[in-house]
Amino acid sequence: MRQILVFVAIVAGLVAAAATYGVATAQACDTNYWNVGCQTYSPGQRHTSPIPCCGSYNSSYSTFNNYSTSEQIWNDMQGHWLGSQVVSYGTTVHWITNGDGNEALGCYNNNSGNQFINCREYAGWG
């Protein structure tokens, strides 16, 4: 009986691991790097950095799951939208921002279902 329980536990663990493997890349999150965060976005949901930026040249970058595209966005700190760019996985967007220190870059789910997105912004076009 004990052996059966151990077997079931092992199988359950393997099934759980297999279910999460496909999204492992999108879920790994060092928030020092992914400074806009790593989280599930519902359709039409957006997140931008809580810390205002920018000089005139800034970049955003994302990885994501479930769909072939995601969207990166440029807002002001009051939430007004200034620009957006749909991208494929692992694409960086280099923005010409206003340089007024009242802006933020981030990510947006342009798809019809939930999407897990790792999102970051950084200064410069490197």
């Binding site: 359709p43 949901q45 957006r46 440029w74 620009g83 749909v86 991208v87 996985y89 280099h94």
Partner: protein
């Protein structure tokens, strides 16, 4: 059989230049409203800051900057969006640019992600804060012979497919500042006229308010 555009002398000269730069650029069937123009990035009218930024990005991706080709939409003048194609040890790579941004260089295969056609939208607000300017840049597989856009006013428009590089992909652009001609979906057709792919772009151009 894909229709060949009758190329005016000036564009033919540019095409000759492009060919000399090791890219084969063949304009596909054209629409007067949804055409694309092709020229070396070095002589393009892209703002200088973009040109240097794109060239730096290309260099970082291992591309020869002297080979960079720009494809821009003729829909909005002066052209403010399009694609930049480059060739290097990593193969052929593509970047996109819009009025306020440009992307890193990625492979056409990555852009397609197994699909026959992929359109990437960029958008900016008008003076009322709502979507006022929309651009589409995209890539189609070698199976696609024709691509047609559904527009917001119910009309359709065929987009010019531009063959470039040696991997069989074609590229297209579209830009508009008019809500009535905002793109809604793109349809891809093969040489027999059968529709082989559709992409709804309405969510891609929507005002991201959520």
């Amino acid at each position: 059989m894909r229709k060949r555009l009758i190329v005016p002398l000036g564009v033919a000269a540019l095409a000759a230049i492009a060919a000399a730069l090791a890219f084969v650029v063949i304009p596909g069937s054209a629409s007067a409203k949804a055409g694309s123009q092709i020229q070396p990035l070095a002589t393009a009218s892209v703002p200088p800051i973009f040109k240097s930024g794109i060239a730096s990005s290309a260099s970082a991706a291992g591309l020869a900057t002297s080979d960079l080709i720009e494809i821009t939409s003729t829909g909005v003048q002066p052209a403010r969006s399009g694609l930049v194609l480059g060739h290097g040890s990593a193969g052929e790579l593509v970047a996109m640019f819009a009025p306020k941004d440009f992307t890193s260089f990625v492979s056409p295969a990555q852009m397609l992600n197994g699909q026959e056609i992929a359109a990437f939208a960029s958008a900016q607000p008008g003076t009322d804060g709502q979507v006022g300017h929309v651009q589409l840049n995209g890539v189609a597989s070698s199976n696609v012979s024709k691509a047609v856009l559904d527009l917001a006013d119910g009309s359709t428009i065929q987009v010019q497919l531009v063959q470039a590089g040696h991997a069989g992909y074609s590229f297209f652009t579209y830009a508009t500042d008019s809500v009535s001609t905002f793109p809604q979906a793109i349809h891809a057709f093969n040489t027999t006229g059968s529709e082989i792919a559709t992409q709804d772009v309405r969510k891609d151009i929507a005002h991201p308010t959520g």
